[in-house]
């Protein structure tokens, strides 16, 4: 980026309701079926009304022993365990030596941090006594606990940064880590996205009307870009990648999965605090500018991993930003992995890398009828050629937007 050495992704890991590792997520995206479980509903938290969400994409009963020794796991919050496990998978795939990992930077993004631990602490404060608070819970309740645990797992003494910019955070973390690697400050960066679901979080997003409402038969489904979309599916999980300079990765015989071509970010100051902006121009402009600076145009993008989640205002903005860039031209295939994996959880980078690898994506679940206001139709499941460049888009509630373009290594 910016004429600096190129940065590549050499390892990938994931923890999701569909299973662990690249293959599990790839199979899920090919199959096009979300896996949902019932969320606990202790009395009083959720609004007891028709249309209240009851489900989410949950990680339950996962055995972390393959990646985390039990002695270490017992001191970790669920997000820390998920993030460390995903990072271990990514590092194992990349094959970087321990010496380089010792100097690694760790960048983690999270929307809500270890929310179950925060919830438990506040219950201790309000239902018992402030003196009842568990120090172990508090230590692991901080947003940067997963990043710290990744550093501990690899003895990584490089910069340790946790980015919390809602849905845009994962790509901001990726781009910042890539810049550190490109500048030569660190030989390697481990970049992860992680989130867990607490009952309070689920209940609150439901009260805010953000979640997909149950259908007549009780099923809950996100419908990205669909006219009938009603909200997103909440998910927990983690995704991780390893970044290196391309020259060094190739020098040690690694086979990069994808190359970072450029990153962009912007903000719409007209956005409200809790929802998505309606001003597509404010967010399309920085992406267009950065694309031009990188010597690319919309026609050079052959696949889009959108942030569409089934959110009514979120998908509207996503579609309008893309339409502003492409105008009347035909858009490249638009993937909506959140229809399968849910919102948050694995994050946008892992599906983006899978798209750049040419993994097949199934039809977008829930999409039945185009929304005429959007002018965008998601992928229908037909076979796609391996794209040379994939745009990953993440637009956040509150006004932030971030994008990354990955290049496929197919021809190399």
């Amino acid at each position: 980026m910016n004429g600096r050495p190129t940065v590549v992704i050499t390892g990938l890991g994931a923890v999701s309701a569909h299973g662990c590792g690249r293959r599990a997520v790839a199979s899920a995206l090919a199959g096009g079926e979300p896996i949902l479980g019932e969320v606990d509903r202790p009395p009083g938290l959720h609004r007891e009304r028709e249309g209240s969400s009851r489900k989410a994409s949950l990680i339950r009963g996962l055995d972390f022993k393959p990646w985390i020794p039990p002695m270490a796991a017992r001191r970790m919050s669920p997000p820390s365990k998920m993030a460390v496990a995903a990072a271990k998978m990514a590092v194992e795939e990349c094959g970087v030596e321990a010496e380089a990992l010792h100097e690694a930077a760790v960048y983690v993004s999270t929307n809500f941090g270890p929310s179950t631990y925060s919830e438990r602490i506040l219950r201790q404060v309000f239902e018992e006594n402030p003196e009842a608070v568990s120090p172990m819970l508090f230590t692991e309740s901080v947003a940067n606990a997963p990043a710290a645990q990744i550093a501990l797992a690899f003895r990584a003494v490089g910069p340790n940064v946790t980015v919390t910019q809602r849905e845009a955070g994962a790509l901001l973390a990726l781009s910042q880590a890539a810049a550190e690697v490109a500048r030569g400050r660190v030989p390697v960066a481990i970049v992860a996205a992680v989130d867990e679901i607490s009952t309070v979080l689920h209940a609150t997003l439901d009260r805010l009307g953000a979640l997909a409402t149950p259908e007549a038969d009780g099923t809950e489904i996100a419908r990205p870009f669909d006219r009938q979309r009603s909200g997103f599916l909440l998910s927990e999980g983690a995704g991780a990648v390893v970044l290196e300079r391309e020259e060094e990765a190739r020098g040690r015989g690694a086979e990069p999965l994808a190359r970072l071509r450029f990153a962009a970010s912007g903000f719409d100051p007209g956005a409200s605090r809790i929802s998505w902006s309606r001003d597509a121009k404010a967010l399309a402009d920085p992406l267009r500018r950065r694309m031009r600076e990188s010597g690319l145009g919309p026609g050079d993008i052959e696949g889009i991993v959108s942030g569409a989640s089934g959110s009514v205002p979120g998908d509207f903005l996503e579609a309008r930003v893309l339409r502003r860039l492409w105008g009347e031209a035909t858009l490249p295939p638009i993937l909506a992995p959140k229809a399968v994996l849910g919102e948050y959880g694995v994050g946008p980078v892992v599906p983006g890398v899978l798209a750049a690898l040419g993994e097949p994506f199934g039809a977008t679940p829930g999409f039945e009828e185009a929304d005429s206001r959007l002018g965008v139709v998601p992928h229908d499941g037909s076979p796609l050629p391996r794209p040379r460049r994939v745009l990953i888009s993440s637009l956040a509630a509150g006004g932030a937007g971030a994008w990354v373009v990955l290049e496929s290594m197919a021809d190399e």
């Binding site: 230590t139 947003a143 910019q165 956005a271």
Partner: protein, 419 residues
């Protein structure tokens, strides 16, 4: 945009236990007294300790310039008040096109989130209000600043516990150097809340008395709240528009202890790495530093480790290097502490004085090897046209470390300046 080598600070704003402005903070810091007392924000009776540095009530005129005061979280108010002050001093006003916001925080709107949660549990008489969580997330204060000042560039919130503010300054510096933005509002804001108050007490990390950094009888930290914003821009841009640079941001370094979730590395290796990285980033040798605004929490483990880190970086000279701690005066502002302490350091450089840490009891002894600036401000002496420089350090939970290198600004070309 042009790629810039030198970055100037042209405005600072601060909200702290000493009040709603940077001059109020500076006056309080020079007084040699702590702004640490019994807080009134929430019922403290059942907590193990009963002290914190709480921001005093705002004057009505301040409430009138921050739109929607009553709807905002405490952290958002601190962020906006600091941003107003910083922008006014820098002579910039919105909409700030081509600018970015880089914030650090760790509690943000948690205090309001707690009200919501308490109501959800049926333990509040106020009823459930969804707007209490509208700005609950960590990015709330930074987003509010961006929204209010019409910022359309990158908006980026870091939440790496107590290192977040320093790391946010580092991200802002990189964005300016790369020409990604032409102006940056960097800072942070956090408010007192029950979760962190009870949490730090559960770790027995809070002193029941006012904190005593670097004293042999220290027994923990004092929590605080507030926020700070620094206006950063390329030096040539600042001079070109006639702005007065207050100081230069010359380098930021970051590292991780990778040692323990809460305890610092006992030899201070991670802290030393961050300081060395900041020096390298600025292209400077340790000899260029005139004083340290330390992390200086007052916890038994931190202060010893920090002393060892200073020894590692500065060798024998560490014993003669003046050390202060802003936390001793206004408590630990957690994720925004790095921003507030950078603002305090800028004021030290601007006024040519290192602010003191408050006197404790007469009998208190200072840790061996630490030249603590105690009770009275100390004048900064630099030779020739070498500008005074300082490191402001932040060492966090989970081992995340940040060090910020700041230099006094002089219109005379400086010696030994880095990239």
């Amino acid at each position: 945009m042009a790629v810039s080598s030198k970055v100037a600070i042209t405005g600072i704003g601060a909200v702290s236990g000493w009040g709603w402005s940077a001059p109020a903070l500076w006056e309080g810091l020079l007084s040699g007294r702590p702004a640490i007392r019994r807080p009134e924000r929430f019922d403290i009776a059942d907590h193990r300790t009963q002290l914190a540095s709480e921001v005093p009530k705002a004057l009505p005129q301040l409430r009138s310039i921050i739109p929607g005061w009553h709807r905002r979280t405490w952290a958002d108010r601190y962020a906006l008040a600091a941003a107003f002050e910083a922008c006014r001093q820098a002579g910039v006003e919105g909409p700030l096109r081509g600018a970015g916001v880089f914030f650090g925080g760790s509690t943000a709107g948690m205090a309001e989130g707690e009200k919501y949660f308490k109501a959800l549990l049926g333990r509040s008489s106020e009823g459930l209000r969804l707007h209490d969580i509208a700005s609950h997330q960590m990015n709330g204060p930074g987003d509010e600043v961006a929204r209010h000042f019409g910022v359309d560039g990158p908006v980026h919130t870091v939440s790496s516990a107590c290192a977040a503010g320093g790391l946010a300054l580092g991200r802002a510096l990189e964005a300016l150097r790369a020409g990604e933005v032409e102006l940056a509002l960097a800072g942070g804001a956090d408010s007192l809340c029950q979760l962190t108050y009870a949490g730090f007490n559960s770790l027995r990390a809070v002193d029941a008395e006012v904190c005593r950094p670097f004293r042999k009888n220290r027994a923990g930290l004092s929590l605080g709240e507030g926020g700070a914003v620094l206006v950063l821009e390329p030096l040539e841009r600042a001079l070109g528009r006639g702005a007065r640079p207050l100081a230069l941001l010359e380098g930021v370094g970051a590292s991780c202890d990778a040692h323990h979730m809460t305890a610092p590395h006992p030899e201070g290796t991670g802290a030393a790495l961050a300081m060395e990285a900041a020096l390298a980033d600025a292209g400077l040798a340790p000899e260029a530093i005139h004083f340290i605004n330390s992390h200086g929490t007052g916890t038994p483990l931190n202060d010893v480790a920090e002393g060892k880190a200073l020894d590692r970086v500065f060798g024998e000279r560490a014993r003669r290097l003046p050390v202060t701690s802003t936390k001793a005066c206004v408590g630990h502002l957690l994720g925004s502490s790095g921003a507030l302490e950078a603002a305090a350091t800028v004021m030290c450089l601007e006024h040519g004085q290192v602010h003191p840490v408050p006197w404790g009891r007469e009998s208190e002894e200072v840790l061996e090897g630490i030249d603590l600036v105690l009770g009275e401000p100390r004048g900064l002496i630099s030779q020739g046209n070498v500008p005074a420089r300082a490191l402001s350090t932040s060492f966090a939970f989970g081992g995340a470390n940040a060090a910020v290198l700041l230099a006094a600004f002089s219109a005379i070309p400086a010696e030994g300046a880095g990239p």
